[in-house]
Symmetry: C2
DNA sequence: AGTATTTCGATATTTTTATAGCGATTAAGG
DNA sequence: CCTTAATCGCTATAAAAATATCGAAATACT
């Protein structure tokens, strides 16, 4: 199995989102050119990304929407469902538990876990929440290999270690903590700070750019004014 | 103002997270080498990233933790706070409203908005939620330029357009919808699907790799067995 | 004081990723 | 049936990012 570049993997769901739309509208073919227009990704990049999923297109027509969906989904392993446990059923954790979209993306959150006795034992959006001490046992028994980490930042490292000891192979980490784990363990961070950093900086850059243009046009105006004098 | 590469911007908060820890522990200097070890980023890359923030280090010693924090924070514009409006106070939206960490990162969510009359008018984690029809007015009056988008996917495009008309310059988009907006508008996606895609694929790759190794060791065992015979 | 050692930071190289160019392919229209 | 036009997908080039190299600077130790 070839290793697909991260950036390609991150673009594939974007294409999928559009493809679902097309299928819904009854459109049955789509060209890479059009996908490029809609995503802002370069035409040739779209072709490369699509090629990596192993599907072939039809010249002059493009790709069959259904084929492309199948190909991307199976490439991302979104067709057969994987079970996952979520640890830390707080604000963020419970909003994830109730988010049905993940099921369509191959992720089945089968249970939540929390140390807080007032949360443990309850149902959150139809998903059962267990006390934390049941984690290791259930994890091994149910052969769950994906852990979703939404505990407070200062609990993240310890909780992650517990997960790994219990047989978790991949951690979807929503905390800002940089986990230090065994090499083999897959850690995927959903780093909102990183995203916020890009937003903040780009906005600053934009402000400055705009104010410079303002100054320019002001200066220009001054020049014109001066010329008038 | 130089344009800092996206990937650098995304790493900066990681360094910051560690730096806050060091400061807390009373450590007052840190080397790029050590940061590299902890983040898994290459030593020279860390140096480049740091250099882009404009701070200079001391040979043999490294960097003053405080200076580095200041430098990164001001580079990301996390020192003076920007006001933001959040639209769509549902599961995800309300969890974001209550998340105090954003304040420390220069983002002040000053109000939420929702079309649902049972949500609008209430306080969520101390933040007031207005009915949606007040958005344009308040946005202009309070000169808010950042919008956080957490409405259902099918409402995302329309809501984003409303935001832009009301003076929003940057949208932090938590929906899976690919927004089609004016060139100048900054859109930063928090794409959980993208992250999930990487996790899923990497896990598949790992499974296959492991099972191949299993086969190998089985074959090896067989070979040994055969040799024994 | 002098030397060894560590780290910075500038420059060079390599690798990865993105873009461009172009022939091959195929459906559609005359 | 043949031309036309659009698209695929391969190969080549360009750009960006990551990694390596190395001299200079500064601390700590002899
Ligand atoms: N709320 C957000 O919008 C948001 C955004 C980005 C990142 N995060 C991160 O997500 C994590 C959770 O944030 P939150 O706002 O949901 O916090 P929260 O306090 O609302 O929820 C944390 C939950 O984890 C439980 N918990 C605490 N220690 C535990 C342990 N050792 N084992 C199992 N469960 C434990 C608590 O009982 C609580 O229910 C934090 O690391 C936060 O930084 C949150
Ligand atoms: N819940 C999650 O964990 C999660 C994870 C990833 C992405 N998302 C995305 O975030 C968005 C919100 O998800 P959610 O689970 O919080 O949904 P939700 O249904 O719980 O909340 C949506 C909120 O938006 C409000 N709303 C609907 N239309 C609106 C409009 N036109 N203007 C203003 N408000 C409007 C609704 O009243 C509701 O309160 C979705 O696009 C979803 O795909 C959610």
């Amino acid at each position: 199995m070839i290793s697909i570049p991260v950036l390609t993997l991150k673009r594939l769901p974007q294409y999928l989102e559009l493809l679902y739309g097309f299928e819904h509208e009854g459109q049955d073919t789509i060209s890479a050119t059009r996908l490029a227009e809609l995503t802002g990704v370069h035409m040739t990049q779209v072709r490369k990304d699509i090629a990596l999923t192993g599907v072939v297109g039809i010249p002059k027509v493009g790709h069959k929407v259904r084929d492309l969906i199948e190909s991307i989904e199976s490439c991302l392993n979104w067709k057969d469902h994987s079970s996952a446990f979520l640890v830390g059923v707080g604000r963020l954790g419970s909003s994830l538990l109730g988010y049905s979209e993940f099921k369509r993306k191959g992720l089945n959150i089968v249970a939540g876990f929390d140390t807080d006795p007032s949360v443990a034992g309850s149902l959150v959006d139809g998903v059962i929440v267990h006390p934390m001490d049941k984690f290791a046992n259930l994890c091994r028994r149910m052969k769950v290999h994906i852990g979703i980490l939404t505990v407070p930042a200062d609990q993240a490292q310890a909780t992650a270690e517990l997960m790994v000891e219990s047989g978790i192979l991949a951690i979807w980490n929503f905390t800002p903590t940089l986990l230090q784990l065994d090499e083999g363990i897959i850690v995927e961070d959903v780093d909102m700070s990183a995203s916020l950093a890009v937003l903040s900086r780009r906005l600053s850059e934009k402000y400055e750019q705009d104010s410079q243009q303002d100054n320019k046009s002001k200066n220009k105006k001054n020049t014109i004014d001066q010329e008038k004098q």
